[in-house]
Symmetry: C2
Subunit: 392 residues, 2 copies
């Protein structure tokens, strides 16, 4: 009953990339309209064909406001991945695919715009009253665990302790990602970065140094999904959605630091459970993946995801990334060929999907030769996380 290959991504539109707070004064609906226009133009679809909306992370642009603002006459479907953070980006695409597969809608626009307000930052400590109602934070905050970088540092530190993963392995991720960004004219951080630069940068939350941490930005985009049948008549080569998975273990995420987690979960990115379902739906194995766009809010989590998605055995993610293994050219597994959250831009992983589409259309600035199958992941952050397998 799965939606394997029944739907496709047919258009992508991104806003300009801004600094954190730069677009705060521009109404999100205006930014969505701009991105949508780009996506429509490249796809050859008409605005009036859009009949569904998907988003995530408690998006405020609900269809009741957005449909009239954009001039979309009728909405047949709209939903959101349930939960905050960047874990839902791929999940929104999967929701669109499921809806189209079920006949609920024909052309769904998946979207997200990030405009960080002056009084709150994604990466800042969870000190606001808004978070005070979260029963889990009561177990973190008295001990000084108040920010995402600290939570994720715990996992990677444990991984280092258990498996001997080294700071240089984290540096490999940052450096290979920057090398890709340097080839992408859109990327915000394109200056050269060496292992030494990384090792000399200031410590943020041990073991994460400055260059292990993603940027924080304003911007976003629109991704258009329709049926495989409709996709065949459009302007772009369709990028078929082979599989989508979402969710995770309830002992990962919010429960990250407070519960007796099994050791395997503690040293993982919490994606193992998704990976199994994802590969099963797609009918492919890790060795079939030509390029991987792995959510990189923090370098070390890329290493943990490589293990969760079976590119190497548990604990072997560190050695796996050595010697340019993640490079677009000649690497064992090209990863984040756009420059990722670390160096291109941080838009909750939306650009990871955009880059997968570019790779499968043969349009990346770090094009993997003959790329046919791409893995894209969202999160790890809170539950749910999500991921996709796309094909040319």
């Amino acid at each position: 009953m799965s939606f394997k290959d029944r739907t496709a991504i047919v258009g992508v539109g991104l806003t300009p990339y801004g600094k954190r707070g730069e677009f705060f004064d521009i109404p999100q609906s205006d930014q969505i309209r701009g991105a949508l226009q780009i996506a429509l133009t490249e796809s050859g679809l008409d605005l009036k064909e859009i009949d569904g909306f998907c988003s995530y992370s408690v998006d405020g642009n609900d269809p009741g406001m957005l449909a009239p603002a954009l001039g979309i006459p009728n909405v047949c479907f709209s939903n959101m991945v349930f939960g905050g953070g960047g874990g839902g980006t791929c999940g929104a695409i999967a929701n669109a695919a499921a809806a189209i597969h079920a006949g609920l809608a024909e052309v769904v626009m998946c979207f997200k715009i990030i405009t960080q307000p002056p009084h709150m930052r994604f990466g800042a400590s969870y000190g606001s009253k808004a978070i005070a109602a979260n029963p889990y934070s009561d177990f973190h905050r008295p001990f000084g665990l108040i920010s995402p970088v600290q939570f994720m540092a715990m996992l990677v530190r444990r991984h280092m302790h258990r498996f001997g993963t080294r700071p240089e392995h984290l540096a490999e991720v940052a450096v290979s990602t920057r090398a890709h960004a340097s080839r992408n004219p859109l990327a915000l951080k394109r200056g050269p970065l060496t292992i030494e630069d990384h090792q000399q940068s200031r410590m943020i939350a041990d073991p994460f140094r400055l260059f292990d941490c993603c940027q924080e930005n304003d911007g976003g985009g629109v991704i258009l999904v329709t049926s495989a049948e409709r996709a065949r008549d459009l302007e772009q080569q369709p990028v078929y959605i082979m599989a989508g998975a979402q969710g995770g273990s309830s002992r990962w995420g919010h429960g990250l630091t407070m519960q007796n987690q099994p050791e395997d979960l503690y040293t993982s990115a919490g994606h193992k459970h998704l990976a199994d379902r994802l590969y099963k739906m797609a009918g492919v194995a890790p060795e079939d993946v030509d390029v991987a766009l792995l959510y990189d809010h923090f370098s070390g989590l890329v290493i943990l995801q490589l293990e969760d998605y079976g590119f190497c055995k548990p604990g072997e993610g560190g050695p796996f990334v050595e010697d340019g293994a993640l490079s677009w050219k000649g690497g064992r597994l090209p990863v984040n060929t756009h420059g990722g959250n670390l160096s291109e831009v941080y838009l909750l992983g939306l650009t990871h999907i955009a880059e997968a589409v570019r790779q499968l259309r043969g349009e990346s600035t770090s094009q993997v030769e003959g790329a046919e199958i791409a893995l894209v992941t969202s999160g790890p952050s809170n539950l749910p996380t999500s991921s996709l397998i796309l094909r040319r």
Copy 2:
């Protein structure tokens, strides 16, 4: 590709019904746990089989908090209908059905708990700062349009002007609904109600009198959805989901009072567009519906929905409801046999689905003889609205 008859409702659990604010101090997760236990027990499902969550109206119990709180080990799917208000209740069930149909999950719990805080009421004026950011309200509030009852009153007043619908027609809805409530021991308002009582009650927003307006309550529930295949092995007679539709016209809802609406839309409940898709997916016609559970926040909207769903022609909803047409026994179309939002309880329409399940299992306190097919609607409020057709 539709999910017609591929999934079923297999368990329903409701909390006790409270007055507005009565359960505000009880954590929603505790209330969900109680309702879930009832649903699991009646279904024969085990807690650990649940692998998906669906909700609506910007629910705060996201899976990252709820899954560990309930002891559900793995989440494979979770989403929310996109948008606030009571329009998403049926849509959440349709989201679950689509996910199961797509192979994303096997047993999805759809849930909602309402606990109204002391400082805010659903039915109160939209005066809070939270709403100030809504660009549409700027066009309403200076003219005194600040509360849901006023918005809905506009539609029904227009309907009366255009078609000659009379206050007694609204009274018919209130009275027939109360008669059903009086037979339901759970209902909060069971005292006798006559047309005269209705006509003598105080005016709230012309043409709506006190008895045209729903209650406001605390409480909620859980509805379990699984595949038709799995449903066959469980304790209850499955209630199959024939069809689900969601959405609406962008010129209805938020745009209700500010835009040049076409006359047909102005005098409708905004469900016509959904109705066409719903009947098409189900493969049935209005005359096949044995019982209708129509969202009744305000009596007049039931009349408009009767037209939108094709039980009578546009403008004929008033005469249609005369002479006990909505009664469980001998009525032309039994409507809201539980007592509806008006007299049983107002839980954003969750109990309309619960009553449809009772009717199709033969367990209603106002059982429609031989009921095989039920229509359930959510909203009309903002976009999206939603609806379901269920069968025995």
